[in-house]
Symmetry: C2
Subunit: 141 residues, 2 copies
DNA sequence: AGATTGTAGATGCACTTGCATCTTTATTCC
DNA sequence: GGAATAAAGATGCAAGTGCATCTACAATCT
């Protein structure tokens, strides 16, 4: 059985991220932009550059279920944000690359997203507190 | 634009709670138990005692959308865990009370849930660290 | 009292997620 | 090489969620 400090931290973790994420998602929605998952996927792909990523790599980077990733990529491809190509090295697989439109959208999202992060986190913690928070949170991973 | 400490804390917040929640949910599922939302609702109702709660109170306690709460209560009622009664004071409303079966299930869930919290949080943070984490997280709310 | 506005809760419809399973290609083991 | 096993990705179906809207009752304002 956990100590009450541990349970308190658990509850605070769940509640605080729910509140913070809700604030950020609301800002994106209000700006007519897609949700965070799209951003995360586009950003991973943009960081991967010309090499692109295999779906299973993206799946792990985003901590997504396989079937959810498969469908997310469907939607991103349909929206013209990501290009899917067969993978030369592995007949089962494919290579994903962000498109120009994807880069444009990602950059546009970042304007709203970053200011929402600033509002949800930056306005409530000093940089020093943010560092300490990140350090503690990373121990959970 | 947020400072990089702020963005780091944001990312850690989202990732860490995703990992921690996934661990806990997996434990509940493996034990054949319902998901966290059911627990949260049952616990709020159990704390409310004989007085019960109005759906809108539960909605606020759980940070749920109104329509999601309405359907969650449908499911809990169908499962015999919660009783719905018309509200004497307000003809529009209703009173929710946890049933005996609900109390039994909640207690049973807590055995698995608490040990999962211990594994996901307690095993990774000292009590002191957990206190500091909770304090920082609460500033976000 | 009667009309307006607000609040509690439900619900149809579209979309997303979870679960199980399937197909296809790689890898491993004999 | 051939059989068994494993990994990559897709998909049908059920369940959950988001959005808009609806109904019913309450509160307010004149």
């Amino acid at each position: 059985m956990p100590d009450s400090s541990i349970v308190d931290a658990w509850i605070a973790l769940v509640q605080s991220q729910k509140v913070a994420v809700a604030r950020v998602e609301a800002r994106l929605k209000a700006a007519g932009l897609p949700a965070l998952t799209w951003y995360d996927a586009l950003w991973e792909l943009e960081k991967a550059g010309e090499a692109g990523l295999r779906p299973f790599e993206l799946e792990r980077a985003l901590l997504f279920e396989q079937y959810n990733l498969s469908r997310l990529v469907d939607r991103l491809e349909k929206a013209g944000l990501v290009d899917r190509a067969p993978c030369p090295d592995d007949g089962r697989g494919q290579m994903l690359k962000i498109s120009d439109a994807g880069r444009v959208l990602r950059a546009r999202m970042w304007q709203t997203y970053s200011s929402a992060i600033d509002e949800a986190v930056g306005a409530r913690l000093s940089n020093d507190e943010a560092d300490r928070l990140a350090t503690l949170l990373k121990k959970l991973t």
